[in-house]
Amino acid sequence: MDNLLLPIVIPGAVGLLVLFLPARMRALHLLLGIGGALATFGAGALLIDTRGAVSWPWMDLGGLQLDFALKMDAFSSWAVAFTGLMAVLTAAYGAGWFRGKGGAPGRYYAWLLLATAGACGVLLADNLLLLVLFWELVTLMLFLLAATGREEGAPGAAKAFGVLGLGDMALLVGVVLIGLDRTWSISELAASPLIADQASYVLMYVLLLVAAMAKAGAMPLHSWIPTMATGTHASVMAFLPGAVDKILGIYLLARISLDWFVPGDGLRLAVMTIGALTILGAVFMAMIQHDLRRLLSFHAVSQVGYMLLGIGTGTIIGVVGGLFHMLNNAIYKACLFLGAGSIERETGTMDLGRLGGLVRVMPLTFGAMFVAALAISGIPPLNGFASKWLIYEACVAAEMPLFLIAALFGSALTLASFVKVLHSVFWGPKPTEMDGVREGGGGIGMPLAMVTLAGLCILLGVFAAWPLDNYIGPAVGLEAGGAVTGAATLEGNPAAWSDVDGTEPVDRPYPLGTLEPLLLTGLLAVGVLVLLLLAHAGQMRMRRVRPVFVGGQPFDRDENRFPGTEFYRTVQDLPAVGPALRLGASGQLDPYEAAQRAGTPAVRVLRRLHSGLVRDYLFWCLLGIAVVIAVLIGS
């Protein structure tokens, strides 16, 4: 029994135990669910400084070597601990969600813990086939979680399973190609990465890239996230597509781009282009959404673009920024999804046109969502700013002004669409149907999870140097306070991505560009203080309230509202953007829908063959046997 097994075995065993407990032991389900998640987080946190590898031979499948090999390095260590933390918060939130409701907490916690086990397995796996197995486990649990408890979750779950299944297939094929060509051990692969200059290596890289993109949700393989969002528990959205799937997808992307392969300029440019297009395309789609969960899910797609862009630059600052953004995105996106879940639980709707004026009645939800919305928009001094700043600098270092513009513009549009969210949900006059809404129906678990995440948004923003120096920097082989070299590698790997801004050490006051979060926070605090003092000294009235004059008529709250759904409607009429958005909204660009259209005629033929009569099936069986006999006799 090795310590490295703990983050996999604890959630796996507790998850299975919860699955087989009788359904009426609800309290025990909750206890085991939260306890198992806490134990996983504890194991991850205790092991965060452990480095090492263990391996047990498992089976040799005729050339496919499957060993149970685990390895903890500077990258997987904090990723495992963070996955555990997200599981704890989701479990705590789920306790509130299920309070006073029907539904099956047992299934929810079982799938949640098994998904955590699978995610930790992916992060720790040191054998390519083992990685695929754990990767599949997470996909399966995503499907089960999405379909648990709600009828309307089924189509989204099916679509997610279809798109992720395509990605998983690409992963399996890519991994088997690598294994047959070189080695099944990830450590050995990282010791001598494949130079992606031949067509066969480029093919392997692209296959793995497809898997990473499908998992993380980059365009055009993102379409499962918005569809799934419309019918799934908010906490499921927060945990899997919001946090863990991002971690896994970007983990794989970072591994293949820095550790397993040495991609050429063309591939890097392709990754960056996909990233930039994802940022802009998804944020435009988000702006015109009317459903809160769907809007958030497009942002979940859009933020992936930053990670792709950062890792795609190949500079150390870009990779660090991309990985830090992965962490930050998981935090604020989970916070936003959980907030949306609280709003839905109390109001029963996600329609931005019907919500409004909830700031007074749901202050904790508002506070958490406000901080997270500012963080996702890249407002200093929050964590989203810190990681986006690194990515901006990476674009400058890589001399890619177009990508810099895309990233900055994407941030601005993100802020714009969150102004819409905050206005429609929290500000403005309250419609009468929202009158009975109160916060806190779910007990302490739901606000606790949200406020913790919002607090992390602030802490990781103000003290951004701490995770960068201690965890994310070492993951790319950067010593704390050390000098920067141009080429980024994982674990100080000697021959990874070609340098972009020169391999010579660059002398900078701070190892990661010009970001100095503490100084920035101090300056901002001083600025705000000065402003407040000025306002106080000048007797400035910050807020004036006057009754609205509507031509002498009695004021009707419901009629005289300005719901945020009308914001940015004009975006759809812009010359180039409008048609693209309509095309996207109609599903023309969705590979899943395209496959559906292509597959329908084939399915129709097959359906006609299904007569439902015993004798027809018997006939097919006999025909098959006859063919087999004919082949056997012939050979």
Binding site: R607, H610, S611, G612, L613, V614, R615, L618, F619, L622
Partner: protein, 116 residues
Amino acid sequence: MMMYALAAVLLGVGLYGLLVKRHLLKKVLGLLIVEHAVNLFLIQLGYIDGGIAPIRTAGEEAAAFVGNAVDPLPQVLVLTSIVIGLGLAMLMVALTLRIYQRYGSLDADRMSELKG
């Protein structure tokens, strides 16, 4: 050779019943006939013309015994198959009974709920 032909004919009769007849009991009978055709065929495989029973007496020479005795393996197999066949027949009849209670009919062509 005649016995092989008999097995083939029985197989044909059974398949005809299975494929063509619409009455479920006739299908059951057809399947039982197929089963016995296969049993007969297997027995034939191990049979030696004029062979002795595969029981070796003390002092009998091994080579001579193997040359004369029929192969016991198909016999054991078929014995098992007959017993399993009995259970199968019971199961099929019981299911047929349930189908009749559910549909009020034994016409296999009217049970097409798996269509499409």
